[in-house]
């Protein structure tokens, strides 16, 4: 099972400068573990443990098929074959 994961410029040091990499997993959490196996160090940039709870870092946004995973179950958000996952730093929007 393959899912395309787009990596932002700031995290490409972990992917050998690749803009997008493939990973597999039925949930975002499993997907991130698979990413970590091939691109060590990436997981720690994406998630953190705070007050005993594991969650996405505050300034990391992850989208599955353009929808923010925080509204799809967070790290437990389901992921399926052919989905596109985009990782972006949280930045100020237009105003």
């Amino acid at each position: 099972m393959a899912v395309e994961v787009r990596i932002p410029t700031i995290l490409r040091t972990y992917t050998g400068d690749q803009k997008s990499v493939e990973a597999s997993g039925a949930s975002l959490s499993a997907l991130i573990d698979d990413l970590e196996a091939n691109h060590p160090g990436l997981k720690d940039r994406l998630i953190e443990t705070k007050d005993g709870a594991v969650d996405l870092r505050r300034f990391v946004n992850v989208y599955v098929n353009d929808e923010d995973v925080r509204f799809l179950g967070g790290l437990e958000a389901p992921v399926s074959d052919g989905d596109q996952v985009v990782v972006l730093p949280a930045v100020a929007g237009g105003s």
Partner: protein
């Protein structure tokens, strides 16, 4: 009422118009809240007026004061208009990758523009403005990303107006920038019609805009409260341009590019409602007209060409 004592009194009470062509059918309908009908042509007139009036009321803002604000355009233009009428000086910190028209309008209203680098987008403008605020303690930074009056303008205005015009509203779709619109309208519906789903459309820019030096420089507006939103979509320039053209072709509405992103999310929601077999009345925001973006090239040539021209620009 269509007669007002002055321009500022005419902010808000914008029309809500149906979209007979783009709506999928009688059971799933789209409604556009035409915020381009505000005095300077954008939804930001609501927040700008509210922030200035609250600062005047609590004594922070007095005659002759200098207002400082990080802005990619519309809020600056709205503030510049109000500042001109109320006698304040305005300094805007604006990313350099914003359209020429926005700069021209700011200059016409007498605002001073300090440019911030394109890389880092609005993040960098916010950072610069905060530094300048420290250097000039006598200046008043209204700070739209964290000013409760921004959201309050929509809690007291935009939200109630939509409910009054469309009592059967099931969804509200707005753009996510300062988050003021979604926070204000979201809170209003959570309190007054909690079954209304709140959907955010967030513009996805080119890589340049996400060019942070490290993740700790990321930014989430202080106003943002995740619990007031039910879904959040990231929309790139290609879909935004495609939709903004459909809005003009199908309904005659000439909107700015960010509205294309919002319409894209509204149509995605409409599709979901159809699949679920549920009735839906989806209200979405037309943030501004397309006038200020003509020079970006978004309205000419093919979608491919338009997408290419928007690369690296802060189009929303």
């Amino acid at each position: 009422m269509t007669r007002y004592d002055d321009l500022l009194s005419s902010v808000g009470e914008t029309p809500l118009v149906g979209l007979p062509t783009l709506s999928p059918g009688p059971d799933v309908r789209l409604w556009a809240k035409l915020e381009d009908r505000n005095p300077t042509g954008s939804i930001k007139d609501r927040a700008a007026l509210a922030m200035i009036e609250h600062a005047e009321k609590d004594g922070r803002l007095r005659a002759g004061c200098t207002i400082l604000e990080p802005t990619s355009g519309n809020t600056g233009i709205s503030l510049a208009m109000v500042a001109r009428l109320r006698g304040y000086r305005l300094v805007c910190v604006m990313p350099e990758n914003t359209s020429q028209e926005r700069r021209q309008l700011l200059a016409m209203y007498g605002a001073e523009i300090v440019s911030s680098p394109a890389a880092g987008g609005s993040n960098e403008a916010v950072r610069r403005a905060k530094l300048m605020a420290d250097e000039h303690p006598d200046w008043v930074m209204l700070y739209q990303y964290g000013n409760p009056a921004n959201a309050l303008a929509h809690y007291e205005g935009t939200g109630p107006e939509i409910l009054a015009d469309l009592p059967g509203v099931t969804h509200f779709v707005g753009g996510l920038g300062t988050t003021g619109t979604l926070m204000g309208v979201g809170r209003f519906f959570r309190e007054h019609k909690p079954d209304v789903r709140i959907v955010a459309a967030e513009p996805r820019y080119g890589e340049l805009v996400y060019g942070l030096r490290n993740l700790d420089e990321g930014f989430v507006p202080e106003l943002y409260d995740e619990s007031l939103i039910d879904a959040r979509f990231s929309v790139g320039p290609r879909d935004a341009v495609r939709r903004v053209r459909e809005l003009l072709d199908g309904e005659g509405i000439f909107a700015g590019i960010s509205t294309g992103a919002i319409l894209h999310a509204a149509l995605a929601q409409a599709e979901r409602s159809i699949r679920a077999g549920e009735r839906a009345d989806i209200a979405f925001v037309v943030c501004d007209g397309g006038w200020k973006y003509l020079s970006t090239g978004a309205y000419e040539g093919t979608i491919d060409e338009a997408e290419e021209r928007l690369e690296g620009q802060l189009w929303a």
